[in-house]
């Protein structure tokens, strides 16, 4: 997993509440057996018109927003289906940070496994960030837990363990396998009903 410490980038606002994972990556793109290549289908039904051409009104299609790495959104981002393809698609498109009012629990966990930092900030701050011009950069400082936008500094909360995981970019299966003895002991003592 790619580590995140301090990230500087431009933004895309998509301010609807409750953006569900069916919108982030529709089901017809879940049939692949690989982890890559989903970026081209990100927000497919919003991004493309019925004839398959890009919807010029949709913000992800704006030329001046093409290099944005920070997504600003509403409440309850990533609700619905558990599909990790949503995180893979956001990552593949180039997003490294999401700033929303909240996240579904499963989507949040999927972000922690893929090096996408999900930050929670209040609506007033997000509304300010949503006004940024396409080339306005903001800085996300994870060690300091701060989002810096020009002269304004906004603090955010994050669980200490998840924070360290983002900073280290570690694979947790390797970590867990080091606990083999504890797992074996647990299994020895657990009740089994035949």
């Amino acid at each position: 997993m790619e580590a995140i410490t301090i990230h500087k980038g431009t933004t895309i606002p998509l301010m609807n509440n409750n953006i569900d994972t069916d919108q982030i990556i529709p089901k017809q793109f879940l049939k692949n057996i690989l982890k890559v290549g989903y970026g081209q289908h990100l927000f497919h039904d919003w991004r493309f018109l019925d004839d398959g051409t890009p919807n010029p009104d949709f913000i992800l299609n704006k030329e001046e927003r093409k290099n944005a790495t920070i997504l600003i959104s509403g409440d309850n981002f990533g609700c619905g289906s558990s599909r990790e393809h949503a995180a893979w698609a956001l990552k593949d498109w180039g997003f490294k940070i999401i700033i929303a009012g909240g996240y579904s629990d499963i989507f949040f966990m999927n972000c922690t496994k893929n090096g996408i930092l999900p930050i929670i900030l209040p609506q007033s701050v997000r509304n300010t960030l949503a006004q940024l011009a396409p080339d306005d950069e903001i800085t996300v400082d994870l060690p300091q837990q701060k989002v810096i936008c020009r002269d304004n500094v906004y603090s955010f909360e994050i669980d200490a363990t998840w924070k360290q995981k983002f900073i280290d970019g570690i694979d947790d299966i390797e970590l867990t396998l080091k606990q083999e003895e504890k797992i074996r002991n647990f299994e020895k003592n657990m009740p089994v009903f035949e």
Binding site: N32, N76, E84, N114, I173
Partner: protein, 458 residues
């Protein structure tokens, strides 16, 4: 201070770590399906890892399965995904309920039906509707594919202990009002994220009276209120349901004695409590593009209050102030992990019996598993549906998420017993209206929703 059902279950499964930080939790049952597992198996192969407990892992195919001509998957990519699961199960030595197998079906229908789902367990699956299994008094939740890989390799998962919410259901449901209406009303009144960060337990007199099928419907949709876990105390109804099932314990007495320790000591032990009187509930119908956008069937649709509501009305091509019963229905779907069990099919058949669906309506009935299909046919329910003009199909996820050939056409209003009315969920530009099996069956007959409380004699 006592403990909640959730606390007791959690405590029993901590392998390592302290409260307040992510803890390593042991998984008793890992259910696997074809969509969210291929990358996990690939990860195992790349890192030369094995499946730690094949005996605690069970796989099936459901999302991609066609419900007509099931052995002829025309979509090459779908077929590849199915074949990949088959090959992975063989390579890693996993049990698989393959297409056509009598145990095959929607993963959340077959887990309980086979007695794999049991009280006191931690159950995970790469699917958000895993909450269903909490109806048995287990902690059950959906996980992403990276977590699937982690569970396959280690039989454990890192989780931050959520807070607990108790939802007290009391009162007697009116005739014609279903378990589906309870959970739909809860979400309509509390929003789609009221349960985020919580493990939710449904408790109270109403819960005690519900069948396991109805309990599963409620826990299934806990996720639509943001709670990745919904659960209920195991009781005699639970034990009676499990007795004699394929993978249930043979020595039930010993198991029941263990299971009986899992209950909440006192209402005060929950971090938060919602009181909910079900006696005044009407059947619910969704009008918008998330499950909280729903109203009692006898109500008018709400005013436009913000851009989210406006957007929903635009997508659904509806206007505020019309009645829920005015929504034209051109398609109906009965099935899914929410309402695809035998009791749901029976309920729909009871309403449908002796009637014919309206002229302009297409009706698909999709049993949740092959066993449900076989049992329904033994009862002659398939004939009732066929006589009414419905299509009786093969088991699978079908048009609940439409990643198989079953899609609702663009612009069509579909009354559906499923769980999500998101934009495009049942097909691009399809318009989903969630409701109970009886309500959906009645909508098929009339071509619009009716208040089935007043028309039980339809």
């Amino acid at each position: 201070m006592g403990k909640t059902l959730f606390d007791k279950l959690w405590e029993k499964h901590v392998v390592s770590g302290e409260e307040g930080e992510p803890q390593l939790i042991y998984v008793d049952l890992h259910l696997v399906h074809e969509v969210t597992s291929p990358q996990a198996f690939e990860g195992l192969r790349t890192n030369k890892r094995t499946v730690r407990r094949p005996d605690r892992t069970f796989a099936t195919m459901d999302h991609n399965v066609p419900t007509k001509d099931i052995f002829n998957i025309k979509d090459q990519i779908s077929r590849k995904q199915i074949e990949t699961l088959r090959a992975n199960c063989k390579e890693f030595g996993l049990r698989l309920a393959d297409m056509g197998n009598e145990d095959q079906g929607i993963v959340h229908v077959i887990g309980p039906q086979l007695g794999l789902t049991q009280p006191g367990e931690i159950v995970v699956c790469g699917d958000s509707h895993t909450a269903t299994h909490g109806a048995f008094g287990s902690i059950a939740f959906g996980i992403g594919t990276s977590e699937v890989e982690h569970v396959l390799a280690t039989q454990t998962i890192w989780q931050l202990k959520p807070k607990t919410m108790g939802i007290h259901l009391y009162g007697k449901l009116q005739e014609g009002v279903a378990a589906k209406d309870i959970i739909m009303a809860l979400i309509a009144q509390n929003g789609v994220d009221f349960g985020t960060g919580y493990a939710v337990e449904f408790f109270g007199e109403t819960v005690k009276q519900l069948s396991m099928e109805n309990r599963m419907t409620i826990c299934n949709m806990a996720i639509e209120g943001g709670a990745k876990m919904g659960m209920m105390r195991p009781d005699q109804t639970t034990f009676d349901y499990l007795k004699g099932r394929k993978y249930a314990p043979k020595n039930m007495d010993k198991a029941i004695e263990y299971w009986k320790q899992f209950y909440t000591d006192d209402v005060a032990d929950y971090d938060t409590v919602i009181e909910f009187d079900v006696s005044t509930l009407a059947p619910y119908v969704s009008w918008g593009t998330n499950p909280s956008m729903a109203v009692p069937v006898n109500a008018t649709l709400p005013k436009i209050t913000d851009m989210n509501v406006q957007r929903a009305y635009d997508y659904m091509d509806l206007k505020p102030s019309i009645k829920a019963t005015d929504i034209p229905i051109q398609w109906i779907f009965i099935g899914s992990c929410t309402n695809g069990r035998l009791a749901d099919i029976q309920e729909a058949a009871r309403v449908m019996k002796g009637h014919h669906i309206a002229k302009n309506v297409t009706a698909w009935i999709v049993p949740g598993s092959r066993t449900v299909k076989n049992e329904a046919e033994k009862l002659g329910l398939d004939q009732i549906f066929k006589d009414a003009g419905c299509e009786w199909r093969e088991p699978g996820c079908s048009a609940c998420l439409a990643m198989n050939p079953d899609k609702i056409p663009a612009g069509i209003h579909c009354a559906s017993t499923t769980n999500r009315n998101f934009e495009g969920r049942q097909g691009k530009d399809a318009r989903t209206h969630l409701a109970s099996p009886a309500m959906v069956a009645a909508a098929a007959i009339h071509g619009h929703f009716i208040d089935i409380r007043q028309e039980e004699a339809i």
